[in-house]
Symmetry: C2
């Protein structure tokens, strides 16, 4: 099958072996996939990844023992848990220490004709939700995860640092949930685009501090230093993006101001899919371009360019 | 008056100007003071401090408009707040943006014959509490602050990283509050001394992870990386010490494991003094040596040596 593989370099392969499903897993034919900042970090060395990239997708189940899934259009949670450890016993498969993670850890990803995931990870997509909306389920779930981790009062002021695809989606979700949210970044064009979507977007250089919650979506470790400048004493900084590189950080301001820094990763797919199906969140205006899988390398180049938000791959 | 002053170098001065009190402040004659890791960091450049060092003390009020304080032996909260801003209005003077901090920010400290603090910062010490116990009120308050910030279930396993004076006091407080706590460090002699005090002390190299709460008292920014290895997914790392230097940190593990990192600084003096007076916490065995103020430089040298815990200054 075709697959975008990272192995010291990024390549489209046409002879990549098809995934095998084990008991309780299904094979999904990928329809559309999205490129995320984590994919770019993986090509820079994050997680020492080797294999098929990609973890945001919508596809159709083509092989399964589960009759309710076979033939269905689905999105999928990316953490494949062992179902035997104490985390799994607590319903915390996303933190199972034995897990594989689609396109990130020990399991080939979604930028390919086919992928394998456990049946329990797959969520059928309502007919009314088109592929280019359903493909946003994973990042929208990651944004909702913030609200699942922390009860943020509705009168708290939220700042999203980063005008990239992740910052935009987090800001959209916070706005959809009626929070007073500002999204800030460096790119005038992107900020104008976000304003046109009804979001409050500000140049990062014009910010003044005192926010109750700052969500760092900059994708750079240095974003935390800026977040610590912007958050009020005893406020919360949510760390939403991962980077391959460390940064020289002095966390004394976090100690002195008693800031809570909250790492935040994947969320539940079901509620995110519901929010998309109900029209509460619609990130489709963030699609900057769509490439066929055969142009995967060009798609990655586009995803790395500052003016772009989300780049999609149309796979079949 | 005499004072230990840091101004590019550490010096004992005998002609240092006496502090002036403003309205609502008292003058305290310092009896005994303690050297803290923050004092050592200040001599390495932290906070760009210039002036009299020291913020852990017990003394006697020698000048005050407040008759309830005059002549009393007292300990003192170190944050002098403006009492006019919105933080002060919320009772959060410790986070007042206009505050001065004794021996740390804009207010000369306790390693001197006299110091000035607002009356409201001063807490009379019961007669039964000797100077060498009362002098621990500030660091014991800082340890209790953790429990004021976060409700930690009693069945959670707590790891204190760092076998220095701060780690020892935090471990003592956690043990006194009936937590299952392990204190870990690098120095066999210190670990043996902590074990002799009834604490569970372990060589840092022998630790295995999975702790619910890890308190970083290493005094180095690099301690956080180790804490992130030791905490379970969705656990909490408490950042309890400040360092002058930054460190190259990659916080991806905190994001992936959704760890909460909680900055923690000063606590309330009253409850800490109560714990000392009631005998619930007794850090006196941690006193490694006592120096007269005139030997202040030797005291700082001793405080910087690994085998020592707390070094006290006997001032008058």
């Amino acid at each position: 099958m075709r697959a975008i593989v990272f192995d010291n370099g990024l390549a489209l392969r046409r002879d990549y072996p098809e995934p095998k499903r084990t008991a309780g897993e299904s094979i999904v034919k990928v329809l559309t996939a999205g490129i995320c900042g984590t994919d770019l970090e993986l090509t820079r060395g994050y997680m020492a990844w080797r294999g098929v990239l990609g973890h945001e997708f919508v596809g159709r189940v083509v092989e399964s023992e589960n009759r309710d899934l076979l033939g269905r259009r689905v999105v999928g949670g990316i953490n494949a848990a062992c179902r035997r450890c104490r985390f799994c016993a607590q319903g915390l498969g996303r933190h199972c220490p034995n897990r594989t993670v689609l396109g990130i850890l020990g399991r080939d990803g979604a930028f390919a004709d086919l992928l394998a995931l456990p049946d329990e990870n797959l969520h059928p997509v309502p007919e009314a939700v088109p592929d280019e909306l359903a493909v946003f389920t994973e990042p929208v779930a990651a944004a909702y995860e913030i609200l699942e981790q922390k009860a943020i009062p509705r009168n708290h002021r939220i700042l999203v640092l980063g005008d990239g695809r992740l910052g935009a989606i987090v800001a959209m979700v916070m706005a959809a949930e009626d929070y007073d949210v500002v999204v800030a970044g460096h790119y005038r064009g992107k900020l104008a685009a976000l304003s046109a979507l009804g979001l409050t977007a500000r140049p990062e250089s014009e910010l003044t501090g005192g926010y109750d919650v700052v969500v760092d979506c900059t994708g750079t470790s240095a974003g935390l230093s800026r977040a610590l400048e912007m958050v009020r004493p005893r406020g919360t900084v949510v760390l939403k993006s991962t980077a391959a590189d460390g940064a020289n950080l002095n966390l004394a301001p976090a100690v002195v101001n008693e800031v809570t820094m909250l790492g935040s990763r994947c969320g539940r797919m079901g509620p995110a899919l519901d929010a998309l199906a109900a029209g509460r969140v619609d990130p489709r205006p963030l699609v900057s371009d769509v490439f066929p899988l055969d142009d995967g390398r060009a798609a990655f180049e586009a995803a790395g360019k500052a003016p772009n938000f989300k780049i999609l791959l149309k796979i079949s």
